[in-house]
């Protein structure tokens, strides 16, 4: 499919390869994600969802199989190229907010741009302010991450994930630690970004209600895609 932002072909992941304790957690995953698609990945704990997300996010490499991001075979890329591709193509939202506590909300959002360009600039600060406004936290830009509620932190994390205008956002149970109202707000925020900017989302969740509001649901069971 020409429009696929992400393509996995027979992706396997095993740990302790070659040892008696070798364990395979992903058994030949085939998956495609189109530009602008909002996909939910569901499945019980330990089914391999997070491992799959780490591989898709270029934080981990598959033991075998092919992973193509925007048509590029990632197996052929070195560490620096992977880092560059990750920084420019993929945004992350983690379950536990994982903002950097030494920085303010605005600075957390600026961080991916800073790491990419090396020096702060008015343009980077303006982009961070714009994203803060997008997630409804324009008044909280100078707050340290630790001085914000869980919902606010997660909204900052979404803004940070969008900082580099990525083609794909990977969200690992972003609402898992939030109350229903905050969870709904964060989900709606991501859905709005998806609709307005065409950014693809791969959302790992245990929340079936949220999953049903996505474009497509994929269920992973025991390291295999059980249901499309």
């Amino acid at each position: 499919m020409a429009d696929a932002i992400l393509k996995l072909e027979g992706v396997r992941k095993a740990y302790n390869v070659g040892l008696p304790t070798e364990t395979e957690v992903l058994h030949g995953i085939d998956l495609e994600l189109d530009h602008g698609e909002f996909l939910a990945l569901i499945g019980p704990s330990g089914s391999g969802k997070s491992t799959l997300l780490n591989i898709v996010g270029l934080l981990d490499r598959p033991t075998s199989g092919r992973l193509l991001i925007k048509g590029r075979d990632t197996a052929l890329l070195g560490d620096d190229e992977l880092t560059h591709l990750r920084g420019h193509t993929i945004g992350f939202v983690f379950q536990h907010h994982l903002l950097i506590s030494a920085f303010t909300a605005r600075e957390n959002i600026m961080m991916p741009m800073l790491a990419d360009r090396g020096f702060p600039s008015a343009e980077i600060a303006a982009r961070a302010d714009h994203l803060l406004a997008e997630v409804g936290l324009e008044k909280f830009g100078d707050n340290l991450a630790n001085n914000m509620s869980g919902g606010q932190q997660q909204r900052v994390a979404v803004a940070r994930a969008l900082a580099m205008n990525p083609d794909l956002v990977l969200a690992d149970e972003p609402t898992g630690n939030l109350d229903t109202k905050s969870a709904d707000a964060v989900f709606e925020l991501m859905r709005r970004v998806n609709r307005e900017s065409g950014t693809s989302f791969l959302l790992v969740t245990h929340n079936l209600d949220l999953a049903r509001r996505c474009d497509r649901i994929i269920q992973v069971v025991d390291g295999r895609i059980a249901q499309h």
């Binding site: 983690f94 030494a102 020096f119």
Partner: protein
Amino acid sequence: MNRWLPFEWIAAVRFLREGRLQTIFIIGGISIGVGVIVFMSAMLAGMEANFIRRVLTSQPQIQLLTPDQVARPLRNAAGVIEDAVVQRPSQRVISIDQWPKIRAQMLAMPEITAVSPTITGSALAIRGDASRAVTLTGIEPDTYFNIVKVPDYIVAGSARLTSEDIIIGTELAKNLGATVGDKLNLQAASSANRVLTISGLVDFGNKSANQRVAFIALRTGQSLLGMIGGVTTIDLTIKDIYAAETIARRIQAATAVEADSWIATNAQFFTAVQAQIYTNTLIRVFVGLSVAFGIAAVLIVSVIQRSKEIGILRAMGTSRGQILRVFLLQGGLLGFVGSLFGAAMGALALIYWHAVARQADGSEFFPLILERRLFIYTAVLATVTGLLAATAPALRAAKLDPVVAIRG
């Protein structure tokens, strides 16, 4: 955010600021270490300078002498040694052979800063009923005073030395009941005698030297000691006092004279100075090591504490190199800031100790030497130590697997 500061710098400063208590404690530790180094170095440098000034301004650094006179074994007509037991001959006071040529040779050597020919011998100083044996040193004041700072030790009169003048030690003056302006009759072993006027009294801080020392003009000395045109020693000063022995050996190999360095003639003193230098170096090395380990320990803990954040930074596109630099910078910053506080602490301690510590005679224990070079050197050393100490933690941080780091 300052737009002139790079990402790594901003992250390093923020991480240090956030772990405030940890940062304050380690900077305190580094400051104490640097303070000790500054204090010890400046104090020992002062004491060393003091010792060296006292010793080396009252004697030449290298002295050229006539070689020992030796007896040759008796051989028969066939050249066979008839009597191998050779008795050491008595050493006559003789002039250095072709000394003007040797002086010219010495003046041509770039490491030598002053050359002065002298004549030395014994004589009897007589005043009224009192007489004392003295060591006469005939000198050319212009060149000799560049080697032995006689004018610095003058306690009465002046360092004037015409052919009619004599400068003597304070103890000798006391024993003879003489003072500046008095006449002194000098009688050499050869019965030659001369009446000279005391122009100055010197105090070298050594009683036995003050009892014997007597300086006269070179020509007066030559005539009194019966060695017209001759000199018994050529005194030298050099640029690097610690190279004295090497230079002395080189001179001895190249000329027909014997060369004695201050290192050889003051072996005990030189050993003491060397021991002091070694001790100072050892203290600096060990304090430096403990500072380095302190920085490394704090940064290792910081890497462990921040592993999740490092994982996030990596996930956001931060390269391993950038992570490495963030932690290296923290080490360098800790070292640099610690060195500033430490230098101030060391300097204050030094000023206080200089004011309090006194020798038995009430004079200062060591001169207060606060060289800018020492502070710059210490700051650079502490910063480099910080960077080196941060290498292991920084490598560890850069190598962190982001998946493992984020999972915690």
